[in-house]
Symmetry: C2
Subunit: 415 residues, 2 copies
């Protein structure tokens, strides 16, 4: 028997206690957990420095080192994150509707925790506190499996949280970290249907693919974003330019950044030179189809693969289309069902785009960068779902809950 | 390339057209489909007779033959089922809430079809028309993979439906049947993530296990039901007896039938003789723990395995417990998260049971047999989900939908 079974058993047991905990109590303990992180600041930063040094030695690239690195400010942000969660309304326990059937049975749908949530993530140690906070607030026990690069940081953070839980009369098994960083253990983790109710992978495309392909536990797929902006024949040019610049360059490495443009043929001759001027000034390379390359020599010829690529870099693909239908077909074929935008002044085309694009978030005249739990007003985010089951788009506290029917009778039997 | 890819492509294409179809049009076509089933009655019954004969020859057992068999009445019920679906409110297109953010972005959550639904089922040919009707009403294309025993019946039903669709100007690919009944094809079907948005298995425990373990497409697990009734120390005896008799014997082979009893020790001496008298009169065998066997010699000793068994037969397991906590722990350990009931006059124990039992449907003083889309007032049922993701309990039309965020802006960019 591997070490995972006892971890699963303890999480399941903890989840029973957590599901009964009242909101005030959960908030009090979350506040104590935030304090504990600040109290343990020296220890956490010290072991994080060791993780960072080891990663540097291994030749891990700078952008990943930056994700791994904790600073006093980042640790403070982590603790503040827990405090922010205390301000959110706890969704648990609400009965969504309660109706009386003709036979007198009263049936309602009650919001309840999942039970045990599994999170598989990569190098960011802030996910550790963040995922715990959201799961705890929704009465779920969480089992974390972070990346090997951050193992010492994650251990220190979890230790601080568990101590705070214990001191405050709560089971420390509300949060557990799998310390074994081997690959075999992840596969076993993904098949613990008896103990884990839902698995949420957070990380790059490779990690998510592995989880989707190997997990027997139900998964919420979070996402890669090959996000498009379609510049319609009726677009307002200054608006289009401003939105494209924002969606591509405001932050490069995020899933809601724009990766591909689709431009209507009718305006392409006029629009492309303006676009290229704007993008080149920002150092963005545009990989475009033949027609676009003929209009602007600044474009680089695109391959088929470019249209399927999430660059997370100063690169954009571009395609010219002859109709909004062609634009929609192109986007629905290549997108990852994340965020898509149309820039148009046409009522008809705006509605058509909203209706026919298959994605978690469909925009008219706004930047795709808004697909985010905070921007959507949820006050938190456990990830952005790109699947259609259970939750789609930014996930707040509610995505960490399920429901059960409660039925009140007075002796009813079925005829 | 296997035959499945073109089936997937055609379904995906059909789903685009279906997602745009208006409710009135969908209802008109469903009515025509119901008529087509009645028009083709002779053909359908004829090939069904062949399926039944072949199954008899193979030595298939009577209860399965009965599931396979179509009669003029059953065919009429199938057609009526489609007509009933026309009376239900189409959930598609509703925007669940639309709110304005501080920056003026207007964000709403729109109900949309999944796209393509895959159904894997066993011998009941009525699932063929039923699943099509529910998917069609919710704007989904459906790919069906029925059992090999019913293949000719399913082909004839799908042919009738597709002809009716074609004649009425709708793409026949709204419903497709996988005619290859090999096992290899099912495995491939379960991994067509590019074409299938959700997979719903309908059938016995073996089928569902296979799908859960092999599918990379998101699955809605439907269910086996190891349903319990807990007779509390404060139970009303006549009510308990009537509910137990109903939940066990009103229909044996269904997932919401009671399979196991839990009885409080304090009332066991008084209650068990009454219970045994009632159940023996109905020919029900009770497999019980030692304490119960000492009280009633009519009980048969239970093994550990009995408590985990969904009998679907005139057999019940029984365990005596010393407290409601022990009852809840026992049920949460052995149940399949389907339907559980308490019989009690105690407010406190009723609330405790409702709060702490982990199942799709939790009852106070009523028969577990009510867990059903029709009994819950949904007017339809595609299955009963025993998982926590997306849908839990009886699933009506809404369970066949997802949402997408629609965001209306006027040039917003992220700072």
């Amino acid at each position: 028997m591997s070490d995972l079974i006892p971890i699963g058993q303890r999480a399941k047991e903890a989840s029973v206690a957590l599901s009964k905990m009242m909101q005030g109590e959960k908030n009090r303990i979350l506040t104590e957990c935030a304090n504990a992180l600040m109290d343990m600041q020296t220890d956490i930063l010290e072991v994080n420095a060791r993780d960072v040094a080891a990663a540097r030695e291994k030749g891990v690239k700078d952008s990943l080192i930056d994700r791994l690195l904790l600073t006093p400010e980042r640790l403070k942000a982590m603790a503040d994150g827990l405090l922010e969660i205390t301000a959110l309304q706890d969704p648990i326990g609400e009965v969504l509707s309660m109706k009386v059937r003709p036979n007198g049975l009263t049936i309602g749908q009650k919001v309840v925790p999942f039970g045990v949530v599994g999170i598989i993530y990569e190098s960011r140690p802030n996910v550790t506190a963040d995922a715990f906070g959201l799961c705890f607030k929704t009465g779920n026990a969480v089992i974390l499996r972070g990346g090997s690069d951050a193992i010492h940081s994650n251990c220190a953070i979890v230790k601080a949280l568990r101590n705070a839980l214990r001191k405050n009369g709560c089971t420390p098994d509300a949060v557990q970290l799998i310390e074994d960083t081997s690959r075999e253990i992840v596969v076993e983790f993904m098949r613990m249907n008896r103990y884990i109710d839902v698995l949420i992978p957070r990380g790059g495309a490779g990690l998510i693919k592995t989880v989707v392909e190997n997990s027997t536990v139900p998964v919420i797929e979070t996402g890669t974003g090959n996000c498009h902006i379609y510049v319609d024949e009726f677009a307002d040019f200054p608006m289009a330019l401003s939105i494209i610049e924002n969606a591509k360059t405001q932050r490069l490495g995020v899933c809601n950044a724009c990766e591909s443009l689709v431009v209507h043929e009718k305006i392409s001759r006029e629009f492309l030179p303006l676009l290229m001027e704007r993008l080149l000034a920002k150092g963005v390379e545009v990989r475009a189809d033949e027609r676009a390359c003929r209009i602007s020599s600044a474009c680089v010829p695109a391959t088929e693969e470019d249209y399927a690529t999430e660059y997370l870099d100063r690169i954009l693909s571009l395609k010219i289309v002859d109709s909004i239908d062609e634009a929609i077909a192109h986007i629905n074929y290549y997108n990852t069902k994340h965020s898509e935008a149309i820039i148009t002044k046409s009522y008809e085309n705006a509605l058509k785009f909203l209706n026919e694009i298959d994605a978690a978030a469909v925009y008219v005249n706004a930047s795709t960068r808004f697909t985010d739990g905070y921007e959507f007003g949820f006050g938190a985010e456990i990830g952005i779902s790109t699947q259609k089951l259970h939750a789609r788009g930014p996930m707040g506290l509610k995505a960490l809950t399920t429901t059960k029917y409660i039925i009140l009778g007075n002796g009813q039997i079925r005829e």
